[in-house]
Symmetry: C2
Subunit: 473 residues, 2 copies
């Protein structure tokens, strides 16, 4: 049985994670070091994510485009901070066929430079603004160590790139898109997330402000699960993007970018899954229901046919396991795959006009009349979604430590995962010291509850804000 191969989560979290990825058929390793294969079930989860987000982006007026995947070295070099941030981790194309290129090009690690190069050509007047673009594509970052979905040389993602006539509008867009990510992750992924601002040290290369969605995994380690950047006029200045305002004067526009990646699948796994396999929130699960015949009889087949019709009518996705395996094996398979509900249908139960529903989140078994199966499924799917969110929220809150002394801070960093919630003076020296000393990076200055209530936990000077620190993936 597939789930016998899964390492226990509390014994070795890293091994458990890769076991889940493999056992649930989400990914496979390839012969290409650092690149993974996203298998059909993993890709179906990504497609669910893409569908929801793409609809929301479009509802808010964004349009999809496709930029080149290569960036010539000279183009990457235009914005100074940006090239310093990315040049060490790009893949360089040096030859086309047998011919050496005049200028080497990297495979895009992100596309700010490409969008700017295009914006410069198409933006003439205030009538052309705002430009609200998004791109779904693959990017490449030459990582040394990789893990499925979390850190990979090739990443599937979306990158929004927008250009605005005013700072106010650009700042509003930056925060609007962060909220889109936040709502999506709470509502669909059932992930409680902390929303806030990155410190200067942790900002995106070239950004004025970086905002972030920070999630905490089951092991207490932080996952940055989406970012939204306000660029001000930095890129536009470097690329010479100008527009004629209503008074016919040249102005420099204001810019944003924002992105989420397949990393969200990793976050989903490390938030909800367990020793039996994947656990998927119903709203993002590609298949909501596993229908498993305990024994194949005419009455069982008839009940399955009836159920399929009813589920189709309600637009609830399902799979039927008609393989020759034992019922027990099929149950275990359904658990590994994380289908939110499985329906066990046997001739004995059917004599009493009943079937058994099993919730994946709690493994609770529920007998239900064959007349009420689909109604019960609908309410159960909602219950499971809510329960997963609340369970993750509770666990996360238990692992947020409101600390007052550096000794407590050190102890927490040595003893356990989780987030430290501390007062900070705002100086990079303290942030650096905490990283070097305790191995913890700043996560974010939260939007909510960031008023300081003591002195800086590191230097003892006046604090300007509360801030989260934690280990990160």
């Amino acid at each position: 049985m597939n789930n016998e191969k899964i390492t226990k989560r509390d014994e070795d979290f890293a091994a458990w994670y890769t076991d889940i990825c493999k056992s649930a058929d989400l990914v496979d390793y390839s012969s290409i070091k650092g690149s993974m294969i996203i298998r059909p079930y993993g890709y179906a989860i990504w497609e669910e994510m893409v569908n929801v987000l793409d609809r929301e982006f479009k509802r808010l007026g964004h349009q999809n485009v496709q930029m080149p995947m290569f960036i010539p070295e000279s183009l990457l070099n235009v914005e100074k901070d940006h090239v310093e941030g990315f040049a060490p981790e790009v893949a360089w194309v040096t030859h086309g066929g047998n011919t050496k290129l005049e200028e080497k090009m990297c495979v895009r690690p992100t596309s700010e430079t490409l969008f700017c190069d295009h914006f410069k050509k198409i933006v003439k007047s205030y009538r052309d603004l705002p430009i609200l673009y998004n791109q779904w594509c693959t990017i490449v970052r030459w990582e040394k160590t990789t893990r499925p979905f979390l850190r990979s040389r090739e990443i599937l993602w979306q990158e929004g790139h927008t250009l605005h006539a005013t700072e106010e509008e650009a700042r509003k867009e930056t925060l609007q898109m962060l909220r889109v990510y936040e709502n999506f992750q709470r509502e669909y992924l059932a992930m409680p997330v902390i929303v806030g601002k990155k410190t200067d040290k942790e900002k995106f290369a070239g950004a004025v402000e970086t905002y972030t969605i920070e999630a905490m995994m089951y092991d207490g380690v932080a996952l940055q699960n989406g970012t939204s950047h306000y660029f001000g006029q930095g890129f536009a200045d470097a690329f010479g993007i100008k527009f004629l305002n209503k008074d016919n004067k040249l102005e420099t526009p204001y810019q944003t970018s924002w992105g989420v990646t397949t990393r969200m699948i990793g976050g989903l796994i490390m938030t909800h899954s367990d020793d039996l396999g994947l656990v998927l929130p119903p709203k993002i699960a590609p298949i909501k229901i596993a229908i498993i015949p305990i024994k194949v009889t005419d009455s069982v087949n008839a009940e399955i046919d009836k159920l399929k019709d009813e589920l189709d009518q309600s637009n609830i996705t399902y799979m039927v396991d008609n393989s020759e395996k034992s019922a027990g094996y099929k149950f275990a398979e359904a658990e590994v795959k994380g289908y939110p509900i499985r329906i066990e249908i046997g001739p004995r139960d059917l004599e009493n006009n009943q079937v058994t529903l099993v919730r994946r989140d709690t493994l609770e078994k529920i007998m239900v009349s064959t007349l009420e199966v689909v109604d019960k499924i609908k309410s159960l799917l909602e219950d499971i979604q809510t329960n997963l969110y609340n369970r993750a929220l509770k666990r996360r809150d238990e692992m947020i430590y409101n600390l007052n002394t550096y000794e407590e801070f050190r102890e927490m960093s040595e003893k356990t995962g989780g987030f430290a919630y501390v007062n900070w003076c705002g100086k990079a020296e303290c942030e650096n010291k905490i990283k070097d000393d305790l191995g913890l990076k700043s996560r974010c200055i939260p939007f909510e509850n960031h008023e300081p209530d003591g002195k800086c936990i590191c230097c003892g000077e006046d604090a300007i804000t509360k801030i989260y620190f934690g280990k990160q993936y």
Copy 2:
């Protein structure tokens, strides 16, 4: 006005084509030689294509996956014919960050080798077959000369890769997917296509049989607009893919691959568009209707609001041009963009409870009662779809020449575009001679009407089939 910039189609077809691509805002050139930017309107057409095809692939049991984008040189080298076909036109990555790679890798020009490498690991028994995979992605081919959508260094496409227990099943899949492309192009793109088999000379590198969809453009030049390959066991043998059959014996599976690309957008343009701009078949047009107020008054605005509601209810996409431009300018814009119908709404007409509909395909103006606008639109959209297909079919058939002598063949090749439909002995020598001598490549041996009715047009020996020849994009 944008369409004043469009070269006349009959004066310079190549210039006309690029003018359409630019004027209709489908693409822009980038700073990266050979790579184009697909702008929102062009990308929206691609999204329409993807949606229809993806739904059909899934209905037929295919699943989407995502393979790595890089192929190490040694992996590309596994299948001999394949590497010879592709190695001269790949982009090579030689460095990751500052470090030279131990083995160079190319950016995938196609992914047979990657799929085979994966299949080898996941296929164990007949129970694992068939494997029906598809991938939407970008591929790279280092072309010397490029044209928007038709020939580009980066190509958006889908590639289906399937593995079967029997030759019969694999051959059936190959033809089934070719028929999917054929039906899609006829029904949605309103393109009359010739379906048939490639000669050995024109086969895909590594295929046993290549089947093709051949379309003829307005200028008589052929566009290969989709291919489906039967691989037999060649790749499986080269990669050592085996499965245990029902008798527990090792067997080698049979394989297919099939693909279409953004080139279909080029085909769409060169089939239907005219001197005024793009012409899009309604079933693939992202925006079906342009609503243009002749003058902004309360009654005009009220009518527009009513119309928008009715179109929303009927799921008909539209745009409203509320810009400050003149009505004449807006009409021309709508023509450049190829919206299938434009609705002109003016206060004078409204006094008689009428609006004007203008068909993009014929430019015919139709007065219609405000009570019947949406009904009329629905029937007009169907008419336009049919008319575009019939118009293209008529033109194509007029440019298919049933030739009997080599002199006629030479004359046709010098005088005009179009397809020559000739008897052929089946020998590569004749095919090569025709190419070297007349500059025409074989298009395909059609499934229908291929029985020879004379001697080979080249050597005069017995013919084995009728075949199409033509110039190609």
